[in-house]
Amino acid sequence: MLKLDHLSKQYKDTLAVDDLDFEVKSGVVTGFLGPNGSGKSTTMRIIMGLDRPTKGRATINGKSYHDLAAPLREVGALLDAKAVNPSRSARNHLRALAASNKIPYSRVDEVLDFVGLTSVAGKKVGGFSLGMSQRLGIAGALLGDPGVLLFDEPVNGLDPEGIRWIRDFFRTLAKEGRTVFVSSHLMSEMAVSADEIIVIGRGHFITSGTVDQLTATASGTVLVRTSNPGALTQVLPATAQSEALNDGALRVTGLTAEDIGNIAFAAGIAIHELTPQRASLEEVFMDLTASSLQYGHQSPGVPS
């Protein structure tokens, strides 16, 4: 089990992590979602005892990372696939890791086999593609058969087949009762690979929940077609916003389809179409993090 306890990390003038306080459950895949630069990697480094939090703490099975006697047997992490000495072979890299935590060498061959790197185990890591490096990183994370697993942007650089493999792999790990915590800046990726999602922006917590919960809570819109749009906008309450579309339809925000139907009926306005439009996960994400983008984009186009 992984728990963040009012975790903050202040760099000189930026607050990279701002009072994060949540628990990551075991048995499910938890997505850690946020735009680039929102503090996901920093949070993961703090969990791994690499960076020192300014306030609060992160615990694994109730202990700080520093207090884990054999950390690799409790936590496995893939933070940066390229963080390996390129002139060392894959097998020697894993053997050094195994030796440090008293893990038998036979386990090294097991995990190499599992990720499909047995045939290149004696080759230097420097010659590996990003996909191969990712798999070596996964082998390293699995070495100690840990109950908690952290992956920082694991699908980056993977081909479609690799992405599919890794999604199934996360599910399997979760089904085995492990805690699986996966960061990503891609909502679409999280929508298919995570059960629970925690959204952060600029270091602070925005929301969390299942994929369904997130889309449900987001403010949906309703598409309305009527013979008299002008009259309908008159009778809608001030809290609702309506927008006239080009084809004469109205897009209403802040009311349910039911409410709109009732109001129109009471006012004697004929309704031709009334369609609730569910926000896509991508829209929800954009909506939630719009105000917290660290590096915003200009609208597309070349500056004149």
Binding site: L50, A70, P71, L72, N101
Partner: protein
């Protein structure tokens, strides 16, 4: 089943022997020490009876001259010491290392044990080889030294100890600076350039300062007859060891405090 310092040492040993740079570094070290020493011995022998070399004969120490290659070899072992830590920062693998061994002092200790063991074993073999080859070159023309003389045996043994301490000294610099380039520059400056600068100071000052320089400490350690303006070999060894403790101490303190 709890990992110990010994597990960390085993891990570091695998890392040490599994990269090419260690092998090339050690090979360079062996070739430089033995090769340069032999070349110097041959040169000394061929000019031994030149007219006007009488003064050289008075201060001639066959022991230290037969190990002259150390002057260059110390940069080879220094580089090995520096790379043992800076290559981890350079490749980003320091994060992997510290994830596996969160007790950072244990990492420092394990790395030092591996470095010291490798260099003392290989170093002693190499300096004994250089000494033996040198004496066999001198034989017949130039006075030779024998290991049965206490000071000679001590000088040869301390040559290996000097190389080991200088390796750890370089490791400490790497631990503080974290980049290979900066560490090699500082290490080289301390060993080569600072002595040149000290040379330009007024001689009274020069004599007081120069005997504290690593290179001077070394030359008193591995000479059979104590050179002028140096401490006795025992004092020199202690001072150099103190430098190592201080510099690694500072490096460890920083490692504990810094984000990896």
């Amino acid at each position: 089943m709890t990992p110990t310092l010994w597990s960390a040492i085993r891990s570091e040993w695998i890392k040490f022997r599994s990269v090419r740079s260690t092998l090339t570094g050690l090979l360079t070290f062996v070739v430089l020490t033995i090769g340069i020493s032999a070349v110097v011995c041959i040169a000394v022998k061929s000019h031994w009876n030149d007219p006007g070399s009488r003064f050289d004969h008075l201060v001639f120490d066959p022991t230290s001259v037969s190990m002259t290659g150390i002057f260059l070899a110390q940069f080879a072992v220094g580089t090995i010491g520096i790379l043992a830590i800076t290559s981890e920062y350079g490749t980003g693998s320091m994060r992997t290392t510290l994830s596996a061994i969160p007790r950072r002092l244990r990492v420092v200790l394990a790395k030092m044990v591996v470095l010291a063991t490798a260099i003392i074993v290989l170093g002693e073999v190499v300096v004994f080889a250089a000494f033996t080859i040198g004496q066999s070159i001198f034989k017949g023309t130039v006075p030779t030294a024998s290991l049965s003389t206490g000071d000679v045996a001590r000088a040869v043994i301390m040559a290996g100890v000097y190389l080991t301490l200088i390796t750890l000294f370089a490791f400490g610099i790497g631990l503080i600076l974290r980049t290979t380039a900066a560490s090699i520059i500082v290490f080289t400056a301390l060993l080569l350039i600072v002595p040149v600068i000290v040379n330009f100071l007024p001689s009274a000052l020069q004599n007081d300062i120069s005997k504290f320089l690593p290179s001077q400490l070394g030359s008193s350690m591995w000479a059979a007859t104590q050179p002028t303006q140096t401490f006795a070999w025992g004092t020199s060894t202690s001072i150099l060891a103190l430098y190592v403790v201080a510099i690694v101490g500072v490096g460890s303190f920083l490692l504990q405090r810094r984000d990896a």
